[in-house]
């Protein structure tokens, strides 16, 4: 047990918000390096490959940003609920159902002008994701069923429901595989390839598309919602101190439901990236773990959009660079990178406060000494 007591008001913001996460990240990477070494590969080379894979060439970088897009959505989703002290680990299922929303809107309204279809599809994604989060939220608010339990169960329900729909209801009947037909080509969101010509480079293919801008807009939206509006204020009040919220006339139940629905809606937007942007159809299991990784992104980003952006980018690098490594280094499998992610979650989430007191007291003491020296 650590007995270091740090006066929180004296800790500079950059120590707790920059130095501490960076130290945690470094530790996670060092431990990962040990694993790489045990697996019989050179960790330094692996790092080089990650950096090359994610930054070294334009297509790789586009992939990095594509992954970043997904992580921004799921990271923000977790963060919004967390400001109301709700642990929404159902991002995976909400994203899945959000994808259904995108597809149904787009395919049924394809006769409308294209930009309107896009807007309505985004709305559909948000609405479906929100609806999927609403049920656990309602149960939490009125019955006290804990969202951690219900949202994780809803991930399984979403998965089963989608398999059912993809096999029996909306499957592309010309195919045996569980996926839908493709959307009409004019509805596909412009991808990075289309812009790359303008930038003077030519690339074959990239999954990066216009949804990236929607993700950036979502960062602003969440920042505005949480810190600039009455709803955000009330959600945070409920999250910090339910008793005080009741005293101030703020309804905890209402805010639990609002926070969860916005959270689910943001997770649902992942469907826009995957379906309007990349595969243009619903494939079984398309959320592929982004929902869960979003938890790590949010924790690492301290649930603030300004933190979530770099955290999402970091995970984008790991995803993209990781696939480069597994391609080049036969001893390192895809699962190694799941382990690396796990280590990052462990160090920046579960063990977040492991070295925090030491680091903070180190800086507080140093700053005090500087002050004394000046005085």
């Amino acid at each position: 047990m650590s007995n270091i007591v740090v006066d929180k008001s004296k800790v500079p913001w950059w120590v707790s918000n920059l130095i501490v996460p960076l130290v945690n990240l470094t530790l996670a990477l060092i431990v990962s390096g040990v694993f790489v070494f045990i697996a019989g590969e050179n960790p330094i080379e692996a790092v080089k490959l990650i950096i090359y894979g994610s930054f070294g060439y334009i297509q790789g970088f586009a992939y990095t940003l594509y992954y970043t897009t997904n992580f921004i959505f799921t990271g923000l989703a977790f963060a919004v609920a967390f400001h109301c002290r709700l642990f929404n680990i159902g991002g995976e299922g909400q994203a899945y159902i959000g994808g259904l929303g995108v597809f149904l809107v787009a395919i049924n309204l394809s006769f409308l002008p294209v930009p309107i279809v896009w807007l309505l599809s985004i709305f559909g994604a948000f609405l479906f994701g929100a609806a999927w989060a609403f049920i656990p939220a309602y149960l939490q608010a009125t019955r006290g069923s804990h969202v951690v339990i219900t949202t994780i169960m809803f991930n399984f329900i979403a998965s089963s429901l989608m398999i059912f729909l993809l096999v029996d209801v909306i499957r592309d009947t010309a195919q045996m595989a569980p996926h839908t037909v493709k959307l009409p080509e004019q509805l596909w969101l412009p991808s990075f390839e289309a812009f790359s010509g303008i930038l003077g480079v030519k690339i074959r293919y990239s999954p990066l598309n216009l949804t990236f801008l929607l993700a950036i807009a979502s960062l602003f939206f969440v920042w505005f919602l949480i810190w600039k509006t009455r709803w955000g204020y009330e959600m945070r009040a409920v999250g910090h101190n339910t008793k005080a919220a009741v005293y101030a006339g703020i309804s905890p139940n209402k805010n639990i439901i609002i926070a969860m629905c916005i959270s689910g809606g943001l997770a649902g937007l992942l469907g826009v990236n995957e379906i309007l942007g990349v595969s243009h159809k619903i494939q079984a299991g398309f959320p592929a773990g982004y929902g869960f990784t979003g938890i790590a992104v949010a924790l690492m980003g301290r649930n603030h959009p300004i933190g979530i952006l770099p955290a999402a980018f970091l995970f984008g690098i790991l995803y993209q660079g990781g696939s480069e490594v597994t391609f080049e280094m036969p001893n390192i499998t895809r699962y190694m990178f799941v382990a690396v992610q796990g280590l990052i979650i462990l160090f920046s989430g579960a063990l977040e406060n492991l070295f925090r007191p030491q680091i903070e007291s180190f800086f507080v003491n140093r700053l005090n000494k500087d002050k004394e020296a000046k005085a």
Binding site: S9, E234, A244, V246, G249
Partner: protein
Amino acid sequence: MVSPILELTNINKSFGHVHANKDINLTINKGTIHGIIGENGAGKSTLMSIVFGLYQANSGEIKINGKETKLRSPKDSIVNGIGMVHQHFMLVENFTVLENIILGFEGETVFGAKLEKAKADLKKLCETYNFNIDLDATISDLSVGFRQRVEILKSLYRGAEILILDEPTGVLTPQEVDELFKILRSLKEEGKTIVLITHKLIEIMDLTSQVSVMRQGEMVGHTKTEETNKEKLAEMMVGRSVLLRVDKSEAKKGEVVFKVNDLSVKDDLDVIRVKNINLEIRSGEILGIAGVTGNGQTELLEALSGIRKVESGSIELFNKKISDKQNYLNPKMLKEKGLAHVPEDRQRMGLISDFKAYENLIFGYHDQEPFSKSSILKHKEIHEHSYKVMKEYDVRPNSPNLITSNFSGGNQQKIILSRELNENPKVLLVGQPTRGVDIGAIEFIHQRLIDMRDKGAAILLASVELDEVLSLSDRIIVMFDGKIVGEKDNKNVTDRELGLLMAGVTE
């Protein structure tokens, strides 16, 4: 033959600026029941926590059986034969009595022959003191009175010779109190020493042979119980400290604003805390509620402010019913009707300590103009307002962007007051307005409340500070055990009279 088992010399303990215990001397004789009495916040619990090793004194000496002893943790105290039964029981609810008693006890295993031996030992203890407890019962099935017995049994099993009971009767029914007293007397007969912390004079007179009185962190006297009486004790307890009398004119009472009819309210544990209360508050007057904490004031204020459901009876505001068993207006609606509420517990209810000061300054008013418009917070207006009121109420430091928990308790209180008083409410419910606030600020706050009264507000003031109730109120009611046990006009009442009523002594 009287031999001291526990001697405390010059014990001092401070928490930050609060001097909770000042040069305390106390001698407790073996085989007696020793009462420690005092108002809430007098330092009784702190002192006993030092004896039990939960806190370490800043200075002073503790002797057990004449030998100087250092008590660094509860474990040290247990080894030295000190046991403590806390106000809030420390039991694992889904364990049995036996499991709870053995839990964490050094040298015991939970299986086999040792368990059987433990059980046999405990059975013997139960028989000796007439505990009447089923050792295999699960705690969650037991009533509060029985749970308390388990705590006592636990201490005895661990070899306690001195048993400290912190407000043991607060949670008990009268019948359970009788049972407890029987047990305590039989413990005394077996040679155990008992320290009883309480603020109820009846219990002291009933049970103890020695009594020590504490006031504001100091030990103000020790006497033999037979040589004193309730009146003398009440006088010592309340003290004759100088009253901070506030200059105030005669109240100009208007019509009845708040009316409470036959009101009963339950607390979170479903215990009825307010019992069939009737009261009226007129505009332009301050009605003070005197009473020791925990006699229903909190629940009364919460029911009046719309936080807590009403069990029976009704509440009327401006001749309109606002709450009864079926319906109640929530705090937001009441706020719109001109009711403001300064809650007793600022940390847990009045503020969000992780919020910045400016966020707390609009708490509950955040959805009103000029602080927000179309649901968007107007940060410029909020900050201007924050600087203004923080200056007006002398909140230090005057920095709205500082996290609220970094302000001192007194300044946090000023943040709440500035928020609630700033709206010029027509009705004001105030609980403990000056708890933890320095003298200068107290005067300021008192003057504000009087000004509000003179402007025609109806004010209900609940405070454990008798001085405060006396100096501010126009009328005073005394609450004891959820009932109004007395109503006095402030012109002809003495603090001694009130002190007796507060302790439940009715002529």
